[in-house]
């Protein structure tokens, strides 16, 4: 089959590689219908993550059609059109039983590479280096999906592929970030970042009953999309964000602040431990500034929901959180806990993830798609590949 392979720093090539096969009995093989870029891919492409191998197939946000099923698969069948969360979860362990799917205890083939960094291994993830499992990614004609009964969700008739696609990662990550905020009547939610995850967090906060959602970014087309979703846009290069937030909240401050800034792209999905190392080595003050601004802006006793990752930030103002009594919630996406609900919201038009798909490419042109995505050329919010 054809697949987009990492060959070294900024060296992406579409190549012919071996087709995936059923390995374990609960596996299925999908024919990929759509697959998309994520900001966290850029760290891999830039060579900042040490456990990439030449030839690794990229891509972890995707949907497709089931074309082969393992002997122990119970509910998924050939021909099903499904969306798959980026973290691989078994559905059987303590973490999966507690809806903490990205912390699954059994899905990592190489836990010894990750445990020294985190203390305990997380779930495996598609195409995010070997420290995160080394699973082949979705920028390919076919992909192997383990634990299909837990990880494949049938897309309802009537929901277009492009809406289903982002329910793989951007939508559940954003929804989880809003869910962390425990939104109550009258709450104002401020979201830093209007990339895929940030925009999904904004729509999710509205679904969960926020009185007002404020979107903070600097790119006009992204702020325009946030406004189209019903958020109040703030361009942090043009206004004093603290002043604006106090004005918009009657001096109270946002009840919850969601950090969806991420690192290289604006708030696009999963970030990981190696990103943290990368941040330590390549720290950029503006990134820390966004999180510190959120910490400063959140009201006393409010919630800080972190979807971007700043694990080894120096000069982290912990006393600010302590003295204000801020609740901090954070995680990689526990997508399996949210996907059924998100499919329903999308079917009813309350969630419109397809709006993230600004640019489309064939798989053969996917290196061009990554270039446009990386440099935000032509207002590229997400590049979608059609294998």
């Amino acid at each position: 089959m054809r697949a987009l392979c990492w060959n070294g720093v900024n060296d992406l090539r579409v190549e012919t590689v071996a087709d995936p096969e059923i390995i374990n009995p609960r596996d299925v093989i999908l024919k990929v219908r759509l697959t998309t870029t994520c900001g966290s891919d850029l760290h891999l492409i830039d060579g900042l993550i040490p456990t990439m191998r030449e030839g690794d197939v990229l891509g972890h946000e995707f949907m497709g059609e089931v074309v082969d099923v393992g002997p122990e698969v119970k509910t998924v069948k050939r021909g099903d059109r499904v969306v798959v969360p980026s973290f691989i979860a078994c559905g059987q362990c303590w973490y999966c039983a507690h809806d903490l799917y990205s912390l699954c205890d059994t899905s990592h083939p190489k836990p010894e590479l990750q445990e020294p960094l985190l203390g305990y291994p997380t779930a495996g993830i598609y195409a995010y280096s070997h420290a995160f499992g080394g699973y082949a990614g979705s920028h390919a004609e076919y992909i192997r999906v383990p634990f299909a009964d837990t990880d494949c969700f049938v897309v309802p008739d009537g929901l277009p592929d492009e809406d289903a696609l982002f329910i793989s990662d951007a939508a559940p990550t954003g929804f989880m970030g809003a869910d962390f905020c425990n939104i109550q009547r009258g709450d104002v939610i401020a979201v830093w970042g209007c990339g895929g995850v940030g925009l999904m967090a904004q729509q999710s906060a509205m679904i969960l009953g926020a009185e007002r959602v404020i979107a903070i970014d600097q790119y006009p087309e992204r702020l325009a999309q946030a406004e189209a979703f019903g958020a109040i846009p703030l361009d942090f290069t043009k206004v004093d964000v603290m002043d604006a937030l106090k004005e918009l909240t009657g001096g109270r401050g946002p009840d919850a602040c969601i950090d969806a800034v991420g690192m290289e792209a604006d708030g696009t999905g999963t970030q990981h431990a190696y990103d943290r190392i990368k941040q330590a080595l390549h720290m950029e003050t503006d990134r820390g500034a966004a999180l510190r601004q959120a910490m400063l802006a959140v009201r006393k006793g409010g919630t800080l929901s972190i979807l971007g990752v700043y694990g080894v930030m120096d000069k982290f103002p912990l006393g600010l959180l302590m003295n204000k009594g801020v609740t901090v919630r954070t995680a990689q996406q526990h997508g399996q806990a949210y996907v059924p609900r998100l499919l329903e919201h999308a079917l009813r038009g309350e969630l419109t993830p397809g709006a993230l798909a600004t640019h489309r490419f064939s798989l053969e042109d996917s290196p061009t798609g990554y270039r446009m995505f990386k440099h935000k050329e032509d207002g590229c919010l997400r590049a979608v590949f059609i294998p």
Binding site: T106, G133, A136
Partner: protein, 175 residues
């Protein structure tokens, strides 16, 4: 999961011992039976050795060392009670070793804690080599990954793997 490599003082009988623990949400008797299933040891130790359990409670091990070297030994289960499984290598082992798996109830209905201790005793033939240099991976990682894979097998019926289709070329996906 926790692990520790305890370095014994110079001159002690054992060069290194390794310990790891996991909790699995299953009853001890079920886990004990799974541990003693011949197919289990082949799978959970595959990162370290080719392991074959024979019918009489003996197990043959062929461990991979650096530069294509191999170490062979046979272990025998020496005592099995309800709460632990013990084994030791028999005479003639390239790397004499002993192991014990202890099963304890976990609190709050969380299932069973498994504690695995393995002690390697580098023999005269490889004098001067620490146990951690005998194999391609260190002893702590050997036992830790074995327990991770055992937990996966117990809970899901399979061991997570990307082989024989690693994401990278040339099968080079392991490190």
């Amino acid at each position: 999961m926790s692990t520790a490599i305890r370095k014994d003082p110079p001159g002690s009988a054992f060069d290194a011992s390794a310990h790891a623990a996991v909790t699995i949400g299953r009853p001890a008797d079920e886990l004990r039976a799974l541990w003693l299933d011949p197919r289990t040891c082949t799978g959970i130790w595959a990162h370290f050795a080719i392991v074959t359990m024979r019918g009489d409670g003996t197990v043959d091990w062929i461990a991979r060392g650096p530069a294509g070297s191999q170490y062979r030994w046979r272990t025998k289960i020496i005592d099995t009670g309800p709460d632990d499984i013990r084994w030791a290598s028999v005479d003639g082992a390239d790397v004499p070793n002993t192991g014990v798996l202890t099963l304890r109830p976990a609190p709050g209905g969380r299932g069973t804690e498994l504690h695995l201790d393995v002690q390697f005793d580098p023999p005269g033939g490889v004098v001067g080599k620490a146990a951690s240099k005998l194999f391609n991976i260190v002893p702590g990682e050997i036992v830790q990954k074995a327990l991770y894979q055992f937990r996966a097998l117990a809970l899901t019926g399979e061991i997570p793997t990307t082989n024989p289709q690693p994401a990278a070329r040339e099968g080079g996906a392991d490190r």
